[in-house]
Symmetry: C2
Subunit: 149 residues, 2 copies
């Protein structure tokens, strides 16, 4: 029973750290780049898929609902960072990919993002970060890995 309390305490602290850090990232994305974390996440996913992703594939990668991605992509298209193009041979599907402007913008955002994280987690020594990272790696590996692309 005490074990449960210990895990609960750990959970609450993890939550506190991640929420605080996420809030900070949101603020900076807003003030420095006039964007949001969900938009950043979408662009990050697309930047790793040069050839673009189908909408359904994109929402699977991000683990959010289909309808959710529709709205975010709509706004990114409006701003010219992303484009939708039809898929040859399947008129239902759409491929989403970064435009040139989107790639440039994301490169700037990603560089800033990495610096922010480094600063925000400064109190964690690099060596400890590596150890923790390794420990978490096998905790977070997908148990139902239904997302082999």
């Amino acid at each position: 029973m005490s074990d449960a309390k210990d895990r609960l305490r750990l959970w609450l602290r993890l939550l506190k750290l991640t929420r605080r850090t996420e809030a900070e990232l949101r603020d900076r994305l807003r003030s420095d780049f006039a964007t949001t974390l969900p938009r950043f996440d979408v662009m990050a996913a697309l930047s790793q898929h040069e050839d673009g992703l189908k909408m359904s594939h994109l929402s699977a990668v991000l683990r959010v609902s289909n309808g959710n991605v529709t709205g975010i992509v709509d706004r990114l298209v409006d701003e010219g960072f992303v484009e939708r193009r039809p898929v040859a041979g399947d008129r239902r599907a759409m491929i989403v990919r970064l435009t040139k402007s989107g790639r440039d913008e994301f490169a700037r955002q990603a560089a800033a993002h990495e610096g922010w994280i480094d600063a925000l987690l400064q109190d964690i020594p690099a060596e400890e970060a590596r150890q923790l990272s390794a420990r978490l790696a096998h905790l977070t590996q997908d148990k139902e890995s239904a997302d082999a692309v």
Copy 2:
């Protein structure tokens, strides 16, 4: 420079773990208790303040905006779990507190919640949970602690 990458990797894994766990909690709160995480958070905060909290104080504790709390409390009041009462001597302010029904309901939710966390973080040995928890404790302590109640 490699240190920044290490911290970034750690951050991405922390985010993965907490998002996955939070998503699981949301699902269960919804299916087992027909409630949401924000509602749970509000009730948790109120359960630690027997005498209730002013709206502004509640939003400070939860670190969310004032307007946000207004809507959540509205719904909890509709369901009879929470009540607003005027503050003697200040007609602007309202004290929010759990009703009897709210205390009973939260007790059930909190018990289930603790069990869920224990199960979800089962892969972390209790001893490691304690160590990590201690390490995180001094990372997450408020640097600007402007919320001594």
